[in-house]
């Protein structure tokens, strides 16, 4: 699949909390392992900067956002760029299923953090399958 036809998975990568790191690593699990042909990612900072190519990509490709907190920076930045988010995930959606879990820090995930990231990545992978119309790794 061409890069321009891939589903874009865009995490917030929030630098202040572990939730941002989970969003980032879940994205890489999808783009590098679970659905490498069907999904790609895009630097969120490029949207903040207003890069023309990045704006064009979010306007023409399916987008999935993963946010670490309710400020929903990834989802909001895609909307502000004129793109449409086909599905918006929040790390807390998965974390609340693991009440009391300590997933690590903003610098590194522990075993629990990786389990949460993978669980989230599998949800994203399912959505990528739906949006791309292609079978991906299960």
């Amino acid at each position: 699949m061409k890069q321009t036809e891939q589903v874009l998975v865009i995490p917030c990568s929030g630098i202040g909390k572990v939730h941002g790191l989970i969003s980032r690593e879940a994205t890489y699990l999808v783009t590098d392992e679970l659905a490498p042909d069907q999904a790609g990612t895009l630097c969120l900072a490029l949207l903040v900067k207003g890069d023309e190519e990045a704006l064009e990509r979010v306007r023409t490709q399916p987008c999935i956002t993963i946010d670490g907190c309710p400020k929903a920076c990834a989802q909001k930045n895609v909307a502000l760029a004129g793109g449409q988010t086909d599905c918006a995930f929040q790390v807390l959606q998965v974390l609340k299923q693991h009440r009391g879990a300590q997933p690590g820090s903003a610098s590194g995930l522990n075993e629990v953090g990786w389990a949460v990231a993978r669980e989230l990545a599998e949800l994203v992978r399912d959505k990528v399958t739906e949006l791309s119309g292609c079978e991906v790794k299960s």
């Binding site: 895009l42 490029l46 502000l80």
Partner: protein
């Protein structure tokens, strides 16, 4: 009422598409947590657009350093667009200058080259923080040994005895681990190198360097033996 110490804001691009974005994010975290915990703060770059005036005031209220992965300089451009000029603008690809090839974007594939690259960038950011603080005349004020911080948690220190005085050095264990990782043997020939590395993170008075060197070598030998 005590005057609030000035802090330098560090804004990382954290670019998801390239390894340098991951390096910018992790090096920034290292500065916040370990190298300059009392002198630095950060803000998520995407918050400039998604957030409100409070976030956009960030660079107006703090001297700010941006850390970009590539020469597109998204962090610098985004910050200057919403908050005004930055105090320093660093670019990871310039700092590494092609010396650390094949770094990984995700942490599952991170190896020795990545760890080295993160150290190099973190040390450069820390030096830039010092320079910015020096320029605003606050370096001395922020040179406290007190390693507690409300917004980022410094790593625990390690104690040495130099000239009969007990001295706690923040993150000593991590510094030693880095030396081990880079192949520095715990032999007297490397004592100056160990001192030089620790001095990056902990101010050492000129007249006490000899005593520190001896104490640090002893502590490093103990660390290596335990490892």
């Amino acid at each position: 009422m005590a005057e609030e110490k000035p802090r330098v804001g560090i804004i990382s691009c954290s670019g998801e598409e390239i390894p340098e974005g991951t390096i910018s994010r992790l090096a920034t975290r290292r500065v916040l947590e370990m190298l300059r915990p009392d002198q630095t703060v950060t803000l998520c770059l995407p918050l400039f657009l998604a957030g409100g005036e409070q976030e956009r005031d960030f660079a107006r209220n703090h001297p700010t350093i941006t850390v970009d992965g590539c020469d597109k300089r998204c962090a610098q451009c985004g910050t200057e667009k919403y908050s005004g000029p930055v105090s320093a603008a660093l670019v990871v690809s310039d700092m590494l200058n092609g010396k650390y090839p094949n770094c990984a974007r995700n942490s599952r594939q991170r190896g020795e080259v990545d760890r080295e690259a993160i150290w190099v960038v973190a040390e450069t950011i820390a030096a830039a923080v010092d320079q910015v603080l020096a320029e605003i005349g606050a370096a001395e004020e922020c040179g406290s040994d007190d390693a507690s911080c409300a917004c980022s948690r410094p790593l625990p220190g390690g104690m040495i005895v130099a000239n009969g005085q007990e001295v706690t050095i923040p993150a000593l264990k991590m510094i030693f681990s880095h030396l081990v990782d880079t192949g520095v043997a715990s032999v007297p020939e490397n004592a100056a190198r160990i001192l030089e590395m620790v001095a990056v993170y902990h101010p050492i008075p000129e007249k006490e360097k000899g005593a520190y060197q001896e104490a640090l070598l002893e502590a490093y030998q103990k660390h290596c033996a335990e490892a």
